[in-house]
């Protein structure tokens, strides 16, 4: 199977930040969510994949083509929308749609019309009169309707009201019904990623902390509440990412949960009160605070 993208040893240095030695790939037909705090390197990674930026080191392959050498072939089948990307404010959305249609042979006019209705956008209105949410939806419409094989979305739902966010997520879910299409999207909102992604990648401080399929991610992590005191030497408990003592209760955040771990905890004199699944947000925050090992 062709990889939607594959990067090896990818490095990009700026004055105060460096994306360092990223190796990551995604098979076609998958959805990968990039999770990271502001300045983690998500946007840098997406810009490198889209050809907007050049790497200092490493290799990039997108849809089977080397980047940036074959960027025209890649960009023919790529959609890219980022939070800071703007359209021509003096022109109407219809003008933009005609402009994009003239470039991309795969432009789907019927789908564009459906998205116009769904996003409640007026094609004849100049972009200057659009709200932030409308601008984001217009940019997504221009990307979705060209039917790209790979969509790169940088914070697609940031700044949207709940209704607009739901519309965008629904449109994304529709796109993902087609198994041949792949999406890599970044978001602060881990709920969006938890809802849509097959694979989750954590980026922090310019490094890739972890990249795994969502189910195994969520299955492995647990919040365990015990009665008793944390006994000892943390180095003997690599499965445990964080501990918090609250009176007689001990909360453990476990990165590799197993029945054997529960038995070991009981063997330390702890009484297990509850074992709960963790949200992606909680897993991410715990991973970052634990210093990166997920």
């Amino acid at each position: 199977m062709t990889a939607a993208f594959a990067v090896t040893g990818l490095t990009k240095r700026y004055e105060n930040f460096a994306l360092q030695d990223i190796s990551l790939s995604m098979p076609e037909g998958q959805v990968m969510g990039l999770v990271g705090v502001n300045g983690a390197g998500k946007t840098t990674l997406l810009r490198l994949l889209s050809g907007l930026s050049r790497a200092d080191a490493g290799t990039i392959e997108v849809l089977g083509h080397a980047m940036p050498a074959q960027q025209v072939a890649v960009k023919q089948e790529l959609g890219f929308a980022s939070e800071d990307m703007r359209l021509y404010k003096t022109q109407t959305l219809r003008w933009h749609m005609d402009f994009i249609r003239s470039i991309y042979p795969g432009w789907d006019e019927a789908y564009a019309a459906e998205l116009l209705r769904r996003f409640d956008l007026c094609a004849e209105q100049a972009l200057a009169g659009f709200s932030h949410g409308q601008r984001v939806k217009a940019l997504l419409l221009l990307n979705f309707a060209r039917r790209p094989r790979l969509l790169l979305l940088d914070e697609p739902t940031t700044g949207l009201d709940p209704v607009a966010r739901d519309e965008v997520l629904q449109a994304l879910a529709d796109i993902l019904r087609d198994d041949a299409r792949s999406v890599l999207f970044s978001s602060h909102n881990t709920q969006d990623i938890e809802q849509l992604a097959d694979t989750i990648s954590f980026v922090h401080g310019g490094r890739l902390l972890e990249s795994r399929d969502k189910e195994s991610f969520l299955d492995d992590w647990r919040r365990v509440v015990c009665q008793g005191s944390w006994p000892a030497n943390e180095s003997r408990w690599p499965e445990i990412a964080a501990t918090r003592q609250n009176g007689s209760l001990l909360e453990l955040k476990v990165r590799r949960f197993s029945d054997a771990l529960l038995s070991r905890l009981k063997g330390q004199g702890l009484e297990i009160r509850s074992t709960e699944a963790m949200s992606l947000e909680d897993i991410f925050v715990t991973t970052v605070r634990a210093g990166g090992a997920a």
């Binding site: 050809g51 907007l52 960009k75 990307m85």
Partner: protein, 228 residues
């Protein structure tokens, strides 16, 4: 025509896009230029000075407008990332911007250059002015090429403003310099169009330097690390 490595259909679309975005404003510049030429054509001392001043102002304004709207504004308003996400290479983008800018600037420029020569040739103004006027237009072309190159190579708005204003303001010393060269200024009040060696050398230098600056910028642009 298919040129290997270039996405010509998209380059053409980008040029057409820039033309469409700026055509109304450029029409206004051409109109103002024609008005200035009418003043020149009246061949009265006051109208000549007013017309030539207005012509230079319109030329400089057209040059600055073309650069600031198609390049600086694109960067400032974050539409550059949108354009660069289309199926183009940095070289395609550079060529589209270069040709788009040349079209949007050269159309009013050539209209005004042709108009100026016609006005001088077909009114009582001395024909010897044609060489002088052509060299002034040549200077504006060079200043435009320098400003365009700085705009493509340097992201700082301050440097771009400095390059545009600086290069255009230097037109005054340049006109004074032409006035000091007898082989050029000596014929401005005569009916003879004399392309003396200094005049031809200056014109050649203007054209060669303009092209060299733009080629060097293209080379540098294709090696830029980021396009957003």
């Amino acid at each position: 025509m298919n040129v290997p490595g270039l996405n010509l259909p998209v380059i053409k679309l980008l040029i057409a896009k820039d033309w469409l975005l700026f055509q109304k404003q450029l029409a206004a510049y051409v109109t103002a230029g024609i008005f200035a030429l009418c003043l020149l054509g009246m061949a009265k001392p006051w109208s000549f000075y007013l017309g030539s001043l207005m012509l230079i102002v319109v030329l400089v304004a057209a040059a600055c407008f073309s650069i600031s709207t198609s390049l600086l504004a694109e960067r400032k308003e974050h539409t550059l990332a949108f354009v660069m996400s289309l199926p183009v290479t940095p070289l395609d983008f550079y060529l589209a911007k270069l040709l788009g800018n040349l079209v949007t600037f050269l159309v009013p420029f050539l209209v005004m250059l042709g108009g100026t020569i016609a006005v001088i040739a077909f009114t009582p103004l001395p024909n010897g002015l044609i060489v002088f006027a052509t060299l002034v237009f040549g200077y504006v072309l060079l200043a435009y090429a320098v400003s365009l190159s700085v705009a493509m190579a340097v992201e700082s708005e301050g440097w771009n403003t400095f390059a545009m204003i600086g290069s255009m303001v230097l037109i005054n010393p340049f006109i004074m310099l032409l006035g000091q060269i007898h082989a050029i200024s000596g014929y401005t009040n005569t009916e003879h169009v004399v392309w003396s060696a200094p005049a031809v050398s200056i014109l050649l230098a203007q054209v060669v330097l303009s092209v060299a600056v733009l080629v060097a910028t293209g080379w540098a642009h294709c090696r830029k690390p980021a396009f957003y």
